[in-house]
């Protein structure tokens, strides 16, 4: 079934509240609580809103509740995947369907206090002393989950901050508030949903972090899952590479390759000197092997960089690593009014 992109038309609401319900966990009771609380807050602030309930492989009873909500609550729609596609796809789909100018995502339970809604709405609409904001990330305070969960989450965030240079402390929180256009252009899939603020920041959107009260944590949490740690590590590594070098792969591969090549060349030259000038035997010199391998590796890595450059040269025109903020033409300003 084709879902039209709402971006093709003007926004109908100030905010779209997206409720993400994944896996076997979601319960109607908690979900109803978060929908009622957050929409009440939006009403109290005085902004218009719609609700989008995303059933990403939740139990059958949950979709029955989604149907019920769409009949009782105003401006409420539901969407259901045939199987669980994960948070990235759920967010991408919701953003595609949303008719609000801004979007708030939340899990199916109240992960953070309702104050997060108030702060986020205010920052997106009016900004603060430091200007307007395009993306509001939350940092859960006084966390209610267990200390091993916090420890691994802390390590993940610290590592990501260090490598990407984007100062977000809580990438795992599901509460996010952002202007629609921040995510509309991103291609997110797999585990990339965690890094939306990093992508946004790289595209030049202004990302702001707020501290909020952590209320509740549901769903399975895994500890000491070595495979998971490896995958997360690799995700961050790829992210680092893609953020810095997508458009200039040869700089990265060329640099690394030439380091290998120079070291390998140096060792090989030394060994040659030993053999020819000093007439020493090389059969007991392990360094010879290292030198030769590094020489070859250097050439291979630089060649990989060349392949990368060719790919970018031929295909890179599809990549858009900018986002136009404002177009000024004589006489008028074309930036959409912010609510």
């Amino acid at each position: 079934m084709y879902v039209p992109h709402a971006s093709e038309s003007a926004p109908l609401f100030d905010f779209t509240l997206v409720v993400l319900a994944s896996g076997v966990g979601p319960e109607a009771g908690l979900a109803e609580d978060v929908v009622r609380t957050y929409t009440q807050a939006l009403t109290d602030i005085g902004v218009t809103w719609e609700v989008l309930l995303v059933d990403d492989g939740a139990p059958k009873e949950f979709f029955a509740w989604v149907k019920k909500m769409s009949e009782t609550l105003p401006n409420t729609r539901g969407v259901r995947f045939r199987r669980q596609f994960g948070e990235s796809i759920a967010i991408a789909t919701a953003v595609g369907m949303a008719r609000g100018r801004n979007i708030i995502t939340t899990t199916w339970y109240q992960q953070v206090g309702v104050d997060a809604v108030r702060q986020a709405v205010s920052l997106l609409r009016e900004g603060d002393g430091r200007g307007n904001w395009d993306y509001v990330a939350v940092r859960r305070q006084r966390r209610v989950d267990s200390w091993p969960a916090r420890l691994q989450s802390w390590a993940f965030n610290a590592f990501t901050r260090r490598l990407t240079g984007v100062g977000i402390h809580d990438l795992n929180a599901s509460f996010r508030a952002f202007r629609r256009e921040v995510v509309a252009d991103l291609s997110i899939h797999g585990d990339l949903f965690r890094f939306i603020p990093v992508f946004a920041s790289q595209k030049g959107f202004r990302v702001r972090e707020i501290s909020v009260q952590h209320v509740r944590e549901e769903g399975p949490s895994t500890f000491l899952n070595l495979g998971l740690y490896v995958r997360r590590f690799l995700d961050i590594l790829s992210l680092f590479f893609l953020l810095k070098f997508t458009k200039k792969p040869l700089r990265f591969f060329g640099l690394v390759g030439s380091v290998f090549f120079v070291v390998g060349f140096g060792i090989s030259a030394w060994m040659t000197w030993l053999k020819i000038v000093r007439s020493e035997g090389l059969a007991d010199k392990p360094l010879l092997v290292l030198g030769v391998f590094l020489l070859v590796l250097g050439i291979i890595v630089a060649s990989i960089g060349l392949i990368g450059e060719i790919i970018i040269f031929l295909q890179g025109n599809q990549l858009k690593d900018y986002s136009i903020d404002t177009v000024v033409s004589a006489g008028r300003t074309d930036r959409p009014e912010t609510t």
């Binding site: 899939h189 690799l234 092997v289 590796l297 291979i300």
Partner: protein, 335 residues
Amino acid sequence: MPTDVSIIIPLYNEVECAPHLIEELRGFVASFDRTTEIILVDDGSDDGTFDVVRSEIRGDARAADGTPKPPLPGARLAKLRGNAGQTAAMAAGLSLAQGDVIVFMDGDLQNDPRDIPKLLEKIDEGYHLVSGWRRDRKDRALTRKFPSWAANLLIGVFTGVRVRDADGRPTGWLHDFGCTLKAYRASELRALNLYSDMHRFLPALTHRAGAKIAEVVVNHRSREFGRSKYGLSRVLKVAADLVVLRLITEFAGRPMHYFGPLALTFVLFAGFTAAVWGWNLATRTGDGTIIFPAVITLFFVSSLYFLFLGLLAELIQRVGKYDPSDQARATLETI
């Protein structure tokens, strides 16, 4: 209102079968109560299939006794510039099709168009894909039946495709991946990329997208004209394609999750070898050889090699148009 059905038939060097096929289709269309289009795709035949089919569907052909044959209503004939293969011919047909339901069929008379209503009934019941099952195959056992049985078993076990009942509960394996006669909802197919020999894996790909699959026993007739384009070598090709399918569906969106663990494994090998070497040196049982450092270096360099290949793959992934949400979008139910 009846569903629009597109019947797509790839033809490759079927000059003898074609008149009989069109004759069968005339009979079928006359008795069929839905709006139907028939898309015949001539896959670069060099035996004159195109001319024969063209005159048949236009009503220019004459029977043996000289009476003119009627045209085939709703038929279109596409000619590909070269022989592109069955999957590509099917994709070409799909690009022309306008129906809500797509039915693929062989052009060699082994499939019977009279089975099509049975498939469509199942589609109406809510299935996304209905597969024909040639339970009583009229083929030679050793060269056709056995490879087919082996290929089906292999695909079934490897991809986990199950036939489901109306409530979505699995009831058994899918028996006949290779049978061309299958009906699909068009939206399922349009979310997929059809290339290489992927037509055999369409059930697996739609299954991955969460589709509900049913199976219907269909009539199978032995080949009377022409000759088969398949042989025993098929099982090996299927096995290779299966590995590709698994890797592609699993890692196309996240290649680093494939290359990264490989790199890590080789680092561990290097570390292990280094430990053994160190222990050897410490106990003075086997030093003086450059075997250990050579092996350590080999492992280490391989590890870096995989790591950089992974980064290159990530780059390609980023540049490409791959968007898994297309697939998800095809499966949405909105209220």
